[in-house]
């Protein structure tokens, strides 16, 4: 069980904004976090891991306080029991896959778990290879294994599969499911992919400019929310029906043209906020 209250001023591409969120994550569940880039998703994960310090708030994990601004409690990242998977550069290139896992495990622990996980994820054949000699999908698979090998109390996944193609992404989602069934680790999964969230997460928080704008069951939330938070590329301007047709990469949607958006061209990146306002994103 994890309770968070986080407050910090962040610098964004479109000016400074305040990250101000409160989250409750039930034990053994997976929480998905979605939202446009630069909304503060990664900052939340980094604050939980101790890689970034909030200005106000508290972080409590399974009854242990890792951070409490009022009581000046701050646990170093080394002493927080987390597993973290980044989108890229996750593995240490100087170590083989097996060495990456052994390094994560630490010296005095039983190495059996390493063999178990390598076996479970079908990586034994590659265990002596260096990370630059395997595919991107395999790398993220090892990164997952490395994050979980220490039995962390919380697993933080920062768009772990975003750089992979669709097939590989699906296979890794299955691996993650498998790992979660075995280890039951409370997990936060940041993702851009609604299908991934629906498949894996029990809860979803949607974040925009540092605030939680929606929270609930992913299948419910994504169907009602689909048109509320939209981010994507203009495909076509339909002048006959006065509509803008845009794609988010996962689905296509039409928006009524507005006075402010007459200058939009196909290829422009846009964001449509909850009240239907279309904003052109700066490159």
């Amino acid at each position: 069980m994890i309770d968070l209250k986080l407050y910090k001023k962040l610098a964004g591409a479109e000016g400074d904004f305040v990250l101000d969120v409160a989250l409750h994550i039930p034990a053994h569940s997976i929480l998905g976090i979605m939202g446009p880039s630069g909304a503060g998703k990664t900052s939340i994960l980094k604050m939980i891991a101790g890689l970034l310090t909030p200005e106000q708030g508290e972080i409590t994990v399974n009854g242990k306080t890792w951070y409490h601004a009022g009581q000046s409690v701050y646990t170093k990242p080394q002493h927080r029991s987390v597993g973290y998977v980044f989108q890229d550069y996750s593995l240490f290139p100087n170590m083989s896959l097996r060495e990456n896992l052994l390094f994560a495990l630490g010296k005095d622990r039983n190495q059996q778990i390493v063999d178990e996980i390598l076996d479970m994820m079908g990586l034994q054949a590659l265990e002596h290879r260096k990370p630059d000699r395997i595919s991107g999908g395999q790398r993220q698979r090892v990164a997952l294994a490395r994050a979980i090998v220490r039995h962390p109390e919380i697993l933080l996944l920062d768009e772990p599969f975003a750089a992979l193609d669709k097939t590989m992404r699906y296979r890794l989602q299955e691996d993650l499911k498998l790992l979660h069934q075995k280890f039951n680790t409370t997990t936060i999964l940041v993702s851009h992919d609604p299908a991934e969230i629906v498949r894996l997460a029990q809860n979803l928080a949607v974040i925009e400019r540092g605030k939680i704008i929606a929270m609930g069951r992913p299948s419910q939330l994504l169907t009602t929310l689909k048109s509320d938070v939209f981010e994507g590329e203009v495909m076509y301007i339909d002048t006959d029906n006065n509509e803008i047709i845009a794609t988010s990469g996962h689905f296509i949607q039409a928006f009524p043209r507005q006075a402010a958006t007459t200058a939009l061209q196909p290829g422009d990146q846009i964001r449509v906020s909850a009240d239907g306002l279309i904003v052109r994103k700066k490159e």
């Binding site: 980094k46 891991a49 101790g50 890689l51 170093k76 990242p77 080394q78 002493h79 927080r80 987390v82 597993g83 973290y84 980044f86 890229d88 550069y89 996750s90 240490f92 290139p93 100087n94 390094f103 994560a104 630490g106 490395r146 994050a147 220490r150 933080l156």
Partner: protein
């Protein structure tokens, strides 16, 4: 006058010992600067690079003042270890370590600062201390720069002159290294010897630089 190769042996010995000391000291300083997050970071970096721009004679002069038996460093060293620092080999080693510091620290520091920040963050979340993070993750992934730092320190110490002349004088077998020997032979009008010494140093320096550039090969980041 017959050719004496002692100065070359002395230069090599000085360069070896300086490089070994700097390997350890350089990594400690890199550790301190890399993980230091305070406002004085630019000051620390500037201090390390100072020997690059400071005239060797200036550095040598102030080392002489500190090292002389009446100076406070000299007094401490002499009373604690019975070690004389001016006009002696140990003094040369200390001078060379200070003088060559940027050649070891700068390539290593800039290489690990250019590594993806995820390496450090991942090591932290795996419970690794700063020291383990540096020695097991960051430095092995900046191995090429460490090698370049070692080679440049070695080569730079071989070619050092101003500091050595100031704090070492020109004492055969003790502080008369190759560069000083060339100066001395020219003073003595032994031009043949001076030419021979100079040619050996030239070939040596060229070989070292060649080796470094061959080693860097098609690596995208050039350090020197």
């Amino acid at each position: 006058m017959e050719l004496n190769f002692d100065p070359f042996l002395l230069s090599l010995k000085l360069a070896f010992i300086t490089t070994c000391f700097l390997f350890v000291i350089g990594i400690l300083i890199t550790y301190f600067i890399y993980f230091y997050t305070g406002r004085l970071k630019p000051v620390l970096k500037a201090l390390v690079s100072l020997p690059l721009v400071l005239p060797p004679t200036v550095l040598g002069y102030y080392l002489l003042i500190f090292f002389r038996p009446e100076g406070w460093v000299g007094q401490i060293s002499e009373s604690l270890f019975g070690l004389r620092l001016v006009f002696s080999f140990p003094g040369l080693v200390i001078g060379s370590v200070i003088f060559s510091l940027p050649f070891m620290v700068n390539p290593i520091l800039s290489a690990i600062e250019n590594l993806p920040v995820h390496y450090r963050e991942a090591a932290y979340t795996l419970g690794k201390s700063n020291w383990i993070t540096l020695t097991k993750v960051l430095l092995p992934n900046a191995k090429h720069s460490v090698v370049v730092g070692l080679v440049m320190t070695f080569a730079h110490t071989i070619g050092e002159f101003g500091v050595i002349l100031m704090i070492g004088g020109n004492i055969p077998g003790e502080t008369r290294v190759a560069s000083i020997a060339i100066y001395d032979e020219v003073e003595m009008l032994n031009y043949t010897n001076a030419h021979t010494y100079a040619l050996i140093l030239l070939i040596f320096s060229f070989a070292v630089l060649m080796a470094v550039y061959l080693y860097q090969g098609n690596k995208s980041r050039q350090i020197i």
